[in-house]
């Protein structure tokens, strides 16, 4: 008799779906290697965070209902993003105040939703299969993951098992990168000033690889590094942990 495999619903997030499917496949590999049965509900779109952070509660709510209905039957819901996971775990229940049934469903989903690195470390207590990356990485703590979910040591712990990889910390890895969803285009000059500081901090480490757990931050930082002509590679932490690094890094030219 073996215990049944935990059934995991993977919410890839709209950004990963659109920009960087490799992150989704890396997450699948990490979860399957860890003994999970992974499903990706085909009708998933967006968690509703853009609406929520723009003050559109009704819009956020209609997307939350869709996510709850799609994912509530899994044992766990795993998301390769601290920001979207934080939306579900921290904010979904508040969208249904005064509606006990929906609120209960939201709370149940919140309780079993996890950001990817936190799920591997805090829930499964596993180390991924050995992989190799020769070089020095620096890790950007994305704001929602860090401050809503307490994700700080989990990715570093997982990275410490990567053969050949050294992690060199930035002076201020917890500083916001300036992405902020709609903020980055609405107040683009301020967003630029913030990402300039982040990129200077990245470059000062001398690392050849910038990692993080949120694609929003990664697109922003990669875009700025590119514009400055930097050769620092940018990848989602899941790509390195899963060893799926043969393709171009974020924003890098195809060979």
């Amino acid at each position: 008799m073996t215990t049944p495999k935990p059934r995991v619903g993977l919410f890839v997030t709209c950004l990963v779906d659109f920009f960087r499917p490799t992150v989704g496949f890396s997450a699948v590999k990490l979860l399957e290697d860890a003994g999970c049965e992974v499903s990706v509900p085909a009708a998933q779109t967006c968690c509703g965070q853009p609406a929520y952070n723009s003050g559109d509660r009704a819009g956020a709510r209609s997307l939350a209902e869709q996510v709850i209905a799609l994912f509530e039957d899994f044992d766990h819901v795993v998301i390769p993003s601290g920001s979207c996971a934080g939306m579900i775990t921290t904010h979904y229940p508040s969208l249904f105040s005064g509606e006990p049934n929906w609120r209960l469903r939201a709370e149940r989903l919140a309780a079993k939703t996890h950001e990817l690195t936190s799920f591997l470390v805090d829930v499964l207590h596993i180390s991924p299969l050995p992989v190799t990356w020769e070089g020095t990485a620096t890790y950007h703590d994305s704001c929602s993951g860090l401050r809503e979910l307490g994700i700080k040591e989990q990715p570093r712990q997982l990275l410490s098992a990567v053969d050949g990889l050294a992690v060199k910390e930035m002076r201020d890895p917890e500083a916001c990168c300036g992405f902020g969803g709609a903020f980055c285009v609405k107040y683009d000059e301020i967003s630029n000033a913030i990402v300039e500081r982040k990129v200077a901090d990245v470059r000062a480490t001398g690392a050849d690889l910038l990692l993080s757990g949120d694609l929003g931050c990664l697109l922003n930082i990669a875009g700025k590094l590119k514009r400055e002509g930097s050769r620092v590679e940018v990848r989602h932490v899941a790509e390195v942990l899963a060893g799926m690094t043969s393709g171009p890094s974020i924003g890098e030219a195809r060979k």
């Binding site: 499917p21 967006c46 300036g178 902020g180 107040y187 683009d188 967003s191 500081r197 875009g223 890098e252």
Partner: protein
Amino acid sequence: MSGGLTSLSFPKNAQAALANPPLLKAIAHIEETLVSGRRRAVDALPEFEALRDAGRDIKAHTLKHLDLYLEAFEKKVVEAGGFVHWAADAAEASRIILDICQSAGARRVTKGKSMITEEVGLNAFLQENGITPVETDLGEYIIQLRGETPSHIIAPAVHVNKEQVAADFRRAHADLDPARNLDEPTSLLAEARGVLRERFLAADVGITGANFLVAETGSAVIVTNEGNGDLTQILPKTHIVLASIEKVVPTLEDVATIMRLLARSATGQEMGVYTTFSTGPRRAGDPDGPEAFHVVLLDNGRSAMLGSEFEDMLRCIRCGACINHCPVYRSIGGHAYGSVYPGPMGSVLTPSLQGLEKSAHLANASTLCGRCESVCPMRIPLPKMLRHWREKEFERHLTPKTARFGLAAWRFLAVRPRLYGLVTRLGAWGLMRLARRNGALRQAPLAGGWTRWRDLPAPEGGTFRTEWAKRGRT
């Protein structure tokens, strides 16, 4: 309000700030002074997190029974021989203070550092009525000479450098030797001290704010680093305290608890240099003190915050930690906000004080990174409240049309997974083709705000969901 509020032109203000290198250089110092200082002080105090809980609880309790504690405070002030005046708004507070000054026959008043007098625009009002207010905090004195408003709640002149101060002093202190050396901060400090000493002695009325009002004793408490507040409130015959109603705490013990959070959060000091308790006027046998002691209690929109989703904001002790740690403030400084209070605490408070219509942008000018909340000694959920203001803007249709349209379009697509799949598939493929082999775009349709400053990394090609389906997976 003093200086004119320009929150509605926030984007323009921010642009101007970003094109002002001396300003950017000046505010960059916040990192190695205030931020590092707080870090060191907090690391050295193991019970800091427990103190934050205690501070939050004291303030939350007080706000639940604010009427009770304010009346208790009033009773104690009167027992000590002082007067309490209740002001519903800025105009009433200014009028009350002017009346007190005029009854005292005052021509010159000195002022301790006080954001609340900025909020009511007191200086301009007194001047219009023939009374000269002199700021005595060095930072406030500098910006008064410059005709500016504070750009930070605890470091009002943080945007100014010492060369600018030297030029201001030469202009304002024209009676001093033009050949004097003003290259060093110490020489600037000595000059200000000399000039201000005369002003202290000449003042008829001293006006201060208060960091705390103590219900059990009727005391007003100020925390300063320069001692100017003490000279302001001890030397003149009349001392007026202007404080907003949420400054009251029940007991001296509560002051002691919150004091342990205040200076550490603000500057990284264990305590401010001077902490002074004023209780009533000078008593028989007291060596010094004013003959008359007045407290003006200002509401100005605060009682309407009680019981609302913004009540927690009234726990604020004005330490400025949220401001110092805000990536937006650190990029543009305080004046760009165009409000009396800048940064995260200002963006939450300002719409309550002056109306949402006059402060659009403020709640949106945040990445919601949450660092403000993580350093707030009173654990005020600032991002949550910024989001509440965004919700109110959305409800009242103050959100710009383009943003509303974008949100509606996104929602329309996102609740139609098949259509969403088709559109995202086409979009990802199109952008990938547009980027060719470059992997990133220097320009892209509908992404001007993004590509003006950074490249747009190109999508890999197919969306995850199509690639997943191709593998026959569900």
